[in-house]
């Protein structure tokens, strides 16, 4: 009797635990559905051609998001242009030249911390080293702040992807008499290309929604501006400003901007995933 009672209790406990795991998963996915649902609903109702052709409006009138969209693109492109080469080179050192170095393990540790360090702190850092000496907010400061966020992502994926390249490839190339630099650039890079591109895409996805580091570097700009030396508009900062404003038109535009950012980020991560997929299965 005691045995069957114990058995029943164990089964009951197991049933409860299993039920809870299902509840937890539904709960977790429910948020995704809720947030995306609201975002699509609110964002699409404000989406029109006007959004992409007109400047941000003064309070109380209609307008679009053209200047912040262009600003975001400029800031992102420059950030990637600065961050990618640095990240790739650092990752290359860690995987190719200094694989067993003490330096490599230290850099890996620090890089992993930078990877999840609060982005607002990066904003403060760039404020101190660029905005204060220059005397004003500027687009280039915003780009550098974003580049600091790009670097750790690219370092991490470059190193991981190069470590996946079989050593036999390198040995074969070396046996043909290639110097190390040529082995790395012509053989290892080519074998790891898809993964490295994935890393850059993930980095773009990460910075395209970043707001905190831009607040006090690139600031914001209501007008059409390509000047990197002047404050520059960007989608996230405009969303921040508009969402917290009391004006209905601005709030509507904030939702639309949020939808644009989310769709961009989701598209980038899907693209990155499909690029990385064949590498994982083989």
């Amino acid at each position: 009797m005691a045995a069957t009672a114990l058995y029943a209790a164990r089964r009951r406990r197991n049933g409860i635990a299993q039920g809870l795991t299902v509840v937890a998963t539904v709960f977790g996915l429910g948020w995704l559905v809720l947030i995306l649902g609201d975002l699509l609903w609110e964002g699409f109702s404000g989406l029109s051609l006007q959004v992409f052709t007109e400047m941000t409006p003064p309070p109380g009138s209609d307008g679009g998001l053209l200047n912040p969209i262009v600003g975001s693109v400029i800031l992102t492109v420059i950030a990637v242009a600065i961050g990618t080469p640095l990240g790739v080179l650092a990752g290359t050192y860690m995987a190719e030249y200094g694989r067993y170095d003490r330096l490599t393990s230290v850099v890996r540790f620090i890089n992993d911390i930078l990877l999840s360090a609060p982005s607002i702190v990066v904003g403060l850092f760039i404020y101190e080293v660029m905005v204060v000496p220059m005397g004003h907010f500027s687009g280039i400061a915003g780009s550098v702040a974003l580049a600091v966020l790009v670097i750790p992502v690219v370092v991490r994926t470059t190193e991981d992807m190069l470590l996946l390249v079989p050593n036999t490839l390198r040995e074969a190339a070396s046996a043909l008499g290639m110097p190390r630099a040529v082995v790395v650039t012509r053989v290892a890079y080519r074998a790891a290309r898809a993964g490295m591109v994935t890393g850059v895409l993930l980095a773009v996805a990460r910075i395209s929604g970043e707001t905190a580091p831009l607040l006090f570097t690139a600031l914001n700009n209501q007008f059409w501006s390509f000047d990197l030396n002047a404050p520059m508009a960007s989608l996230p900062t405009v969303i921040f400003q508009f969402a917290l404003s009391p004006y209905k038109e601005w709030q509507k535009l904030a939702w639309t901007g949020a939808l644009i950012i989310t769709l961009t980020v989701l598209a980038l991560s899907v693209l990155a995933r499909t690029l990385a997929a064949p590498r994982k299965t083989t």
């Binding site: 089964r11 911390i113 929604g209």
Partner: protein, 330 residues
């Protein structure tokens, strides 16, 4: 002598053009090596630069207020008296609320994904969880402000006040009118943000358990729950704690999602329904409006404190995850 001649012949290429090609390649190699090494040192320089810049910026504030900056509650730009206690308190309480919810739920999701989920469903659910992790924090912020906070204000918070408002011990936690925005709302939003990180890291960690161990336990007649409780969790304890701390690091430093819904009130209230502030929200809200060097410096000092706290948490997290990796590898 013959030996030397032979050796020379072997080492030195015969023709001049070939020698210059070799030299060029060797030079290129050395340059490339130096370049990559410099780049990886740059990563260290950046971290060092962040530290130095923050310390330098924070120095005036620390010099003026000394250690009292850490435990003073005043935050008055007019009289230029600043203390970081309210933001520090807010940061810790919101993160605590987030972890209390996200840790159990995240672990249960990981258990579902590794032990119970049918194989064909694993990948879609895994991807969905990762998408949740990829949504930029400002989206959580705007959603929290326009959808979640009003919902809490109309439905959840009145019920909480009704239920716990007169229970001794709990009444002060749930005191005051339902504002919608406040500490509890921020904690909940943070929980949703951190949840996918904890879930996906725990899943990866659970998957590292050697199948033999689990099969042996199942073979003894253990139930799924018993296997997870007595085999998987003990084996992965270090990694799970590492994953949780990684999530905690995110929660502590999260800015935009919190800034929208915390209310930015520099006071410490016993009620979690009241508005408050966190370190990052204070910086985001006030930095561009800060007039006066001391005000700016106080905000940078806040950033420095945040950086130190998250640095310690993240370093512990990485260390623990590394330890698990080594054990699984061994």
């Amino acid at each position: 002598m013959a030996d030397v001649a032979l050796h020379d012949q072997l080492v030195r290429p015969k023709s001049k053009p070939r020698m210059s090609v070799m030299d060029r390649l060797r030079l290129g190699d050395a340059v490339f090596h130096a370049l990559t090494r410099t780049a990886s040192i740059m990563v260290l320089v950046i971290l060092g630069g962040v530290m130095i810049a923050l310390v330098q910026g924070a120095l005036p504030a620390f010099r003026t207020f000394g250690l009292s900056f850490l435990y003073e509650q005043h935050w008055n730009p007019v009289t230029e008296r600043f203390g970081a206690l309210a933001p520090i308190y807010g940061t810790i309480v919101t993160s605590l609320i987030a972890m209390v919810i996200a840790v159990p739920v995240g672990l249960l999701i990981a258990m579902f994904l590794t032990e119970l989920c049918p194989l064909w469903l694993r990948r879609p659910i895994g991807i969905a969880i990762e998408l949740l992790a990829g949504i930029p924090s400002i989206i959580y912020g705007i959603w929290g402000l326009f959808v979640f906070a009003p919902f809490l204000q109309t439905y959840v918070q009145p019920a909480l006040i009704e239920t716990f408002g007169y229970v001794p011990g709990l009444s002060s936690l749930f005191a005051g009118p339902p504002y919608g925005i406040g500490v509890l709302t921020s904690g909940l939003i943070l929980a949703v943000m951190v949840l996918p990180f904890i879930a996906s890291i725990s899943r990866d960690v659970f998957e590292a358990v050697p199948p033999v161990l689990k099969e042996a336990a199942y073979g003894l007649g253990c139930t799924t729950w018993e296997v997870v409780r007595n085999v998987v969790l003990p084996f992965t304890r270090v990694g799970v704690v590492g994953g949780i701390m990684l999530g905690l690091g995110r929660a502590l430093g999260e800015t935009m999602a919190v800034t929208f819904v915390i209310g930015n009130a520099h006071r410490i209230s016993s009620s979690i329904l009241a508005p408050g502030t966190t370190i990052s929200a204070t910086i985001a809200n006030e930095f561009t409006e800060a007039t006066g060097d001391l005000y700016t410096s106080a905000l940078i000092a806040l950033g420095f404190i945040l950086f130190i706290i998250t640095f310690i948490v993240l370093a512990c997290a990485r260390y623990l995850l590394l330890r698990l990796e080594q054990r699984v590898g061994a």
